[in-house]
Symmetry: C2
Subunit: 412 residues, 2 copies
């Protein structure tokens, strides 16, 4: 008799953004005349850059002719793209110790964040930030890495809390943990991390032989030179850290699906019998077995981002969203809110006065102003009372949202 | 201290097709003057159909303009594609009980075959065909579903053997198994299955409450009306079976990446405490958590296959490869070989006289004729002594391969 994976019964009923979407749909059905300004899920509004459109159109034409057709590609991605990532995103920024062989092209950050658990042994202690992107905990619970559940807490999941006390910069745990998820610039708080602050985490991981999974999906939004863009800026990180990046938020790839994950060849850990486990080789084996690589046309589109025109498009797109985020930040500060983010990140995170339950505030904001947000509680207990807004809508809609916020009687 | 997933140490050193690729590269390096005819991995040679090129070009242009840009899509796929699949591949063939809500768009069969194990409880008995596509066993071993390993055998993996005795049609096991992988038309043997034969498996699954994972990637190659195209042709299958399909081999999508998996809403099993586990809901939760859906442009390309022109292109592509497979089949029969497949499938599977070790024969064929094959042993012990050739090369190259086979002194 087939028995289903019990761990699914331990998950929240629905994925956070599915629930946000459901509430917005319900609201629209009851209020078809209201127009909604989407500032919830981190989806972008600017179209694909022209240089990407041209490259993908050319690639499609290649695929339509026998002489230039491309069938199965390498599971870890084409060299033409891996080489350019290594050269531009790493070597050019002084990180010459990251090479093309360390880079795996993915169909986006969520897939790799979800699947990396396949590399984990059993019964590891896993440190997950609260607030944090819900995939970190959901994926681990689903995979049975949570351990014993009691009142919604899991014996193997150690929450690393952050809050207004530590400016939403979590500090290293006192005991030993085996896996650490970190995300900077942070989703949802928008907070960046400095080199000295991140060095503490890398040193902790080196000392405890922990694996860091560093979600760096928003690095292109960093503006402050003191803020870290890659964890490999920190000495020794290549021995303990996997870094995950995405083209979704930098170049409008949310509907195209491409990103990359760096699993350095120097990432040596052990199996339980003490024998050597090289995570680069293991991830390659996992991808060869359970993935067929990202499509050729998509990878040609991503490659175009590494031309001068492509790099300019990334700069221009991220500047546009950053300007929106800054406007939101300033408007909320003017209203007397406590606000984080919006400086090295497209996310603005703010505390509502009423804020014991973020879903109440989510509903109040939606019903009174037609603005959809993401409730902080969806990112963990420490998010209670907070809402996340994104700078990803158009500037026009962001301005409209700000005037609605200013005019509304809503008591945030 | 991070400990890596021990199950990786139990896997074959490299994935079958990676090993085949390595041997071909090595041969080429030593013999740069030899031209190789690739008949190993099931990669296609015909370019994307024009109707797909047009649809994808249009979709890219939409993505390049703000008004028509598409960001994140639904994790389970766009309705425009799910609806057409349900209408064309199912309802039109009389399978009206399969609806759009049962269909999940994927980036290819391998990803879903690899990831479906996420739905499995612990310690299930898993029946895997031998010979069979290596992903079935590799993915399960990697996920720790294999149980105890002893001399390369796993306590929870029951091999369902097929061989010349049963014409490579495995028969239902005597004991109870919980999960059953089946693939028809079969990879690697090319053998199709009739309704009465498949009914035995569905009845077995209904009786034992087993889950069938039915790999139907080659259904478009079925020519004999008595051969099954979808497992849902069998009464009750919608209560026990997941069906996996791909556009890779029907429309040149190996480098585009799109397929679909049918997880019927009627697929109710239990968790270990006896509570109801609906696999459609669980798979949706899995995909929402660990996947961001297939890109818009790719799904528009797949949608174009459901126009009259698209359906004609599938017919014409599959006819072309089937003609190659038939030629290979006939040539090998003429040489006195025992040959399977090539009638409802693009694969030709034949026994070599010398064949105690297929890797020897693989090397001999490559070195003497420059033809690359896939060694049967790579698909399991029952494949020893067999080689698989594919009809996916061009007709010109297939003819060339046949004359090399006829002229060679190689004693197959």
């Amino acid at each position: 008799m087939f028995i289903a994976n019990n761990n699914f019964t331990l998950l929240p009923e629905s994925y956070l953004f599915s629930e946000v979407g459901r509430r917005i749909r319900d609201f629209k059905q009851v209020n078809p005349e209201r127009d909604i300004i989407r500032m919830d899920i981190g989806d972008v509004s600017l179209p694909l850059p022209e240089v990407v459109v041209r490259a993908m159109t050319e690639a499609i034409n290649e695929m339509g002719k026998s002489e230039t057709f491309h069938g199965y590609g390498p599971e870890h991605g084409y060299s033409f793209l891996r080489d350019k990532i290594a050269a531009t995103d790493y070597a050019l920024r002084g990180l010459t110790h990251i090479s093309a062989d360390d880079i795996f092209i993915s169909d986006g950050a969520k897939s790799d964040l979800g699947n990396l658990g396949n590399l984990f042994g059993r019964n590891l202690k896993i440190a997950i930030p609260d607030p944090g992107y819900p995939v970190y905990s959901d994926a681990n619970i689903m995979d049975g890495n949570g351990g014993e559940e009691h009142n919604g807490l899991f014996s193997n999941i150690i929450k690393i809390n952050s809050d207004t006390q530590n400016n939403f910069l979590p500090i290293v745990p006192e005991g030993a943990v085996d896996v650490i998820y970190l995300c900077f610039p942070n989703n949802p708080t928008g907070v960046g991390i400095t080199r000295s602050q991140l060095t503490q985490w890398v040193e902790y991981a080196l000392q405890h032989k922990s694996l860091i999974i560093y979600d760096s999906a928003y690095e292109a939004y960093v503006r402050n030179p003191a803020t870290v863009r890659s964890i490999y800026e920190i000495d020794g990180a290549e021995k303990v850290a996997i870094e995950i990046r995405s083209f979704s938020k930098t170049a409008g790839f949310t509907g195209v699906r491409c990103g990359y994950t760096v699993v350095p060849e120097s990432l040596d850990f052990n199996f339980s019998d003490g024998s050597k486990a090289n995570l680069n080789k293991m991830w390659n084996r996992r991808q060869c077995t359970k993935f067929n690589g990202v499509g050729y046309i998509v990878q040609k589109g991503a490659e175009a981002l590494y031309t001068a025109e492509g790099q300019q498009a990334i700069k221009s797109n991220t500047d546009y969203y950053m300007n929106n985020a800054r406007m939101l930040r300033e408007a909320l500060i003017k209203k007397g809110m406590i606000v984080y983010g919006g400086e090295d990140s497209p996310y603005v995170w703010f505390r509502t006065e009423k804020g014991s339950d973020s879903w109440d505030m989510f509903d109040a904001l939606l019903h009174q102003t037609g603005i959809s947000s993401t409730p902080g509680i969806g990112f963990g207990k420490q998010g209670a009372g907070f809402l996340r807004l994104t700078g990803f809508n158009t500037t026009e809609m962001t301005r409209k949202a700000i005037s609605r916020l200013n005019e509304s009687l809503i008591d945030l």
